[in-house]
């Protein structure tokens, strides 16, 4: 139970602020997260890690010499936005490129990927790497789909230690890949966690039961068993990890391994030590030599009760990197050499310059007014339906769809009003709105909606009067981008099930010569039918919750909200081309 907070919506920001105040010797707050107080040494690759809040010491607690150069910190259980990541990466950049590292979750993959693209636009070479250590989240032949949990630490650390040696970006990335390929975790859980301000747990495990492989946000595990003794828990975890050795490790005997026994939140140190006692014994029995074990809370999930075991199978190189000194707020090893503060990095230019917009034609500025009206209608609709969207999402997701959509639409509308006041055209208004949505909503849907508005805006531009054909092309671009970024196809029970037929219907109607309002009306009907049809589909793999089978009969929340929005937007479209509004 999370009890100590002020405004729940401000929790993540206030926690980061307090964290930074308590650790001035290590970190310096920047927009979107923290970077090392001493800066990144010039010519050193910067390792920037990140993810949602609620997992402390992941991610801010791992910033410091020998480990991360910066951490981008999102809202509670939500990925940081591309804008946050870009800001942290720019502050951490030491002139030799940036490696962005995170656990393998859809939202993080999206936002870090977008950030890397924008960093490239800034002239900063950036690569991304998602940790995939949780062996219960996908089968061995699909190991790239696995989630990242406490294996984040040894993989981050290996890459960071390589960066500290002065290796170039490509080499640091290779080290990350190698460490990840040799890192495996397996976890068990006894209870879920309660987020700040919530009156019930986000997910639960039945009393006196153990969920095997349950993810740290409640993602599905591989089974449920009676509560084990400490020794049985050790046996289960060690057994699972010894069964799936890395390809280049023939047998455990004679191997050396970094061992992390991680507490998820409310399992206490003493319990971890009782379990570790048996873990050490079992690994010794298997002939494994334990190197610098860590027993404690390293990747948590608020007050979730659970424990995971991570092994990184060491070769000489990985052992050297694992043993290298580190000095961060939450993780210290050896005595890293004192380091002169780097020169203060130049202040980071904000992603969106709030005071200037590109020049726009009169007709595009007129169309921007319609865009504003559409965003207003969209915001109203989400507001009205937020509880309903949350309820639908709670059946198979984490129930925060309504909250995220509200945060996103509110921010988008404000950014759009600001851009419009500055004289922006339709395209720029949409781009600003999309960036604000992605930045404030967080999570997967935030990234996808940000992409939708940005794609549409980019296609409309600030010169021409957007007609049905241009809008249809923009929506098709958005549809393509969402499929590319989200990796979902029609039939996966996601918003793609609605977006693709909507875009197709719009394109078809525009090609047939329908004016925008009629074309949109036709497409909106198609969207509503498609959203209703998602109720008959099984939820998409990998995103669903333990009891996801219940979601059969319930439409997908993302699909449903998209259909609602297409309908609401239709209500504000003029009866004539947008430029005549």
């Amino acid at each position: 139970m999370t009890r100590l907070f002020n405004d729940p919506a401000a929790f993540a920001d206030e926690a980061l602020e307090g964290f930074a105040a308590a650790h001035r010797g290590w970190v310096r707050p920047v927009t979107g997260g923290v970077v090392r107080a001493v800066g990144t040494p010039s010519g050193q690759v910067a390792v920037v890690v990140g993810g949602g809040s609620g997992h402390y010491p992941a991610f801010s607690g791992l910033v410091g010499r020998g480990l991360a150069h910066g951490a981008a910190v999102g809202n509670v259980f939500a990925s940081p936005s591309a804008r946050q990541i870009r800001s942290v990466a720019r502050s951490a950049h030491g002139g030799a490129g940036v490696l962005l590292m995170y656990g393998n979750y859809a939202g993080d993959v999206l936002h870090f990927g977008q950030a890397a693209e924008r960093l490239a636009g800034d002239g900063i070479e950036a690569r991304t790497f998602a940790v995939t250590d949780d062996i219960s989240s996908a089968a061995p032949h699909e190991s790239a789909k696995r989630r990242g949990i406490a294996g984040d630490l040894p993989v981050f650390k290996a890459a960071a230690a390589a960066a500290e040696e002065g290796l170039p970006l490509a080499e640091v990335l290779r080290v990350a890949e190698h460490a990840n390929a040799r890192t495996r975790s397996f976890g068990i859980a006894f209870s879920g966690c309660t987020l700040p301000g919530a009156d019930h747990p986000l997910f639960t495990v039945p009393e006196a039961r153990m969920a095997v492989g349950l993810g740290i946000h409640g993602e599905p595990g591989i089974g449920e068993e009676p509560l084990p003794t400490a020794d049985e828990a050790a046996r289960l975890m060690v057994g699972a990890l010894l069964k799936e050795l890395p390809e280049d490790v023939a047998a455990p005997a004679g191997q050396r391994a970094a061992v992390i026994l991680n507490g998820l939140g409310s399992v206490k140190y003493e319990e971890l030590f009782v379990v570790y006692r048996k873990v050490a014994e079992l690994l010794a029995d298997a002939g494994v030599d334990i190197v610098d074990p860590e027993v404690g809370e390293l990747v948590t999930s608020f007050d979730m009760a659970g424990v995971s075991l991570t092994l990184t199978w060491l070769d000489d190189r990985l052992e050297q990197l694992w043993r290298a000194p580190a000095d961060t707020p939450a993780y210290r090893k050896g005595a890293p050499a004192a380091q002169e503060p780097a020169t203060e990095p130049a202040p980071v230019a904000e992603d969106t310059d709030d005071t200037r917009v590109p020049a726009a034609t009169e007709q595009s500025r007129a169309a921007a007014a319609t865009v504003l009206a559409a965003l207003n209608a969209l915001t109203d609709t989400v507001d009205t339906h937020a509880d309903e969207l949350g309820r639908i999402d709670a059946v198979a997701g984490d129930g925060d769809h309504g909250i995220g959509m509200r945060r996103g639409t509110t921010a988008a509308l404000r950014a759009a009003v600001r851009a419009h006041d500055l004289g922006a055209g339709a395209g720029t208004v949409l781009v600003h709105a999309g960036d604000a949505w992605a930045d404030r909503a967080g999570g997967t849907s935030g990234a996808l909606w940000g992409t939708i508005l940005r794609s549409l805006g980019t296609r409309l531009g600030d010169q021409d009067a957007p007609d049905a054909e241009a809008v249809a092309r923009g929506v098709s671009d958005a549809s393509d981008a969402v499929r590319r970024l989200g990796g979902a196809e029609v039939g996966d029970k996601t918003m793609v099930d609605v977006l693709v037929p909507f875009a197709d219907a719009l394109t078809e109607a525009a090609a047939a010569g329908d004016p925008l309002t009629e074309a949109w009306q036709r497409a909106a009907v198609t969207a509503e039918k498609a959203a209703a049809a998602t109720a008959g589909l099984l939820p998409r793999k990998g995103r669903a919750r333990p009891h996801a089978e219940k979601s059969l009969g319930t439409p997908d929340a993302g699909a449903h909200s998209l259909a609602l929005i297409t309908r609401a937007v239709h209500g504000v479209l003029p009866d004539h081309p947008l430029d005549q509004h």
Copy 2:
């Protein structure tokens, strides 16, 4: 909820074993606890800390360079025994004496005090120091009665840093006194904790309420209020601490302070950071300069939900000691100079040599058989009444009286049988039984019962046939020793309410010429009446639980068990002097 354990009775030992296995670079396990892996530098005062298990990182996690030289670790929430403390202190001793440090709890005061006496007998100069930082546990004019909580850390650290400088024992003790005089804590709690194997919490706080000043074992606080926001919690704690400044601090403005925001177990890091954000702001507003703050879990209580704030008001000397480097499993600061391993300390002789006993006369050996029979009867009685004793204790205590008495009597009987087999006289059998009781039972009652048997045994010796007068003198010695050690007087609703009248009645009857059995019978009747009378008394201050008023009408568990035991022992006394048995 503590879920991961094997045999709950083995929890503390197994946790210590796992802890030591995970931290080989820092600590080495010894009988009774751990010492620094590198040993104590020759000529350096050894600071040995300790207390019950369940408070990690207190106490084992604080052993290492710059902090403790050793930690004596008791059972769950029970003081380590004098034997354990003596063993750890002997292992940690570097030739310059030992400072024993602990939080101010009755059981710890007893056991550490006894250990210091025995260390003196070993030729090792030992001093004791109890930390008293919790301002809600007693009024300012009774500050010596206050409990020790998270203030343990800065007080231990100041003393240890002084020891590390090479100061002599008397100076190190003076530093501890000075640091303690300038250290104040104030805590709030939202829930109690559940011990390994228990099916309900040891104590509770009502839903959505906050217990102000609740002790970490459920000791009474100063009130109950609605759950605060994080900012309100910060305001409450800072306000309380700024109201009670040390005598030599006139006003907070311009002062420097070490600040510790401590989580008790299931309050998460992020929550602590949100609270710390406001704590830092309020202290800055008051003109206080924060030096090296610590935000995290430093003195816990299993999964108890709560938080405490500690301030140590620094002068130049204390600031120097607070800033000094330290390197322990749970607390690191700066980079302590690497230290050559000290020479391996000589193995510690066990307190009780199991293979030899002092020579005894035939008549004392005969009396030893009666002692055995009495211990057997005593063990049976405790066994039969364990649940009842637990229930009585649960009204105003922590409900573990039955469990502790069982552990103690079982160990005492086994030690007595062993000594008797080796040909020991009555005195030695009692001394061995007493030491084993104190060692295995832990807690206050273990120490007091150990003292009772030891006092009686010392008076009886191994030469004479114990008659009524000798037994009465022995019981009177025991009564005096218990009063001295426990600090209780008749009327405080403790076992002293029974022991004193029992000893007096026994002495009177013996003086009147009654043989032992009759004298004992008369005294046992007195004991039973005295035990029943405790039901009408208010519980003794400082030991009671939040809802202790309920205990009016319930006898004290310690008094009740003593009366039961005197009755049971009477049943095995011979009708003639013990030597003719």
